[in-house]
Symmetry: C2
Subunit: 148 residues, 2 copies
DNA sequence: CAGTATCCTCGAGGATACTG
DNA sequence: CAGTATCCTCGAGGATACTG
């Protein structure tokens, strides 16, 4: 998909722009690892089994796009680790939604990882609500409205 | 990323399995179009600007994986359209989460598309809750627990 | 440890002609 | 209309050697 196709075919799609940033084969996996507390290059590389040059590239892109930030954790020699920015942390609902979908539909056994409220240990719930009706919505009750 | 790398590097990741199904450059865009009411081959092809052989391939894979179903809408000649299954409809929270993230972080102007509760027209809200505490959770309050 | 620099392969994506 | 069949290109991903 080239950029022209994007412009003409899927104008103004937030999904398309989002895919441009994180829609490759590794970025979401890198982010998931950072969410789970892996912050250093070698940790990430070992955990994911990603090629080193690719990890370098993905981390740089994530930093350039404001999703991660590179912060020093020691001097002499200076070493950095990668932390989520607010923008990155805000990807959490999307990541969670994908995990839950995979848990529900792509496995036979119990979900390999369960997300819990750390204060009480209860598995979390992921909902779409109407703030005005105060109702949890079914996908069929959702419409899309174009601005423009 | 080959399959061996996936197995060894990211064992049991629901995200990895989900990406195997829908993690390419077009599938999510196709699904978004189906969610928005495009159900026929030519509608999808024109709207997305996707190459015809790619659209054929993506639709077949989505049908094979149980995300879409192919239902006839006329006979002589028989024609089909593509409809979401329950499995496909259940991707809605993930799609919505991505759109909202893109709306918030990848645009300057107003969001190009707003999702609304069709009964009352109010823009929807997307939350992670703890069903036991009945609280909306911040990403920092979420922990992940591995099942062995 | 945390990368950078090279080189290579293979397959995803695309253009286009053809068909019941 | 709704595809299938071919052929091609280019870039994502990967292996590996090197470095402050």
């Amino acid at each position: 998909m080239n950029h022209a196709a994007l412009e003409s075919g899927v104008p103004g799609s937030s999904i398309a722009r989002t895919l441009d940033l994180i829609g490759d084969r590794w970025t979401l996996l890198v982010l998931r690892a950072v969410f789970r507390g892996r912050h250093r290059f070698t940790e990430l590389q070992r955990d994911l089994g990603i090629a080193r040059n690719l990890l370098t590239d993905r981390l740089h892109r994530l930093v350039d796009n404001g999703i991660l930030e590179r912060v020093p954790y020691q001097e002499r020699p200076v070493r950095h680790e990668y932390r989520l920015t607010d923008m990155g942390r805000d990807l959490s609902p999307a990541l969670i939604a994908f995990m839950q979908w995979g848990d529900r539909w792509c496995t036979d056994g119990p979900p390999p990882t369960v997300l819990v409220h750390d204060a009480c240990g209860t598995p979390i719930e992921h909902t779409v609500r109407c703030p005005s009706c105060d109702d949890v919505l079914d996908p069929r009750e959702i419409a899309s409205r174009d601005n423009g």
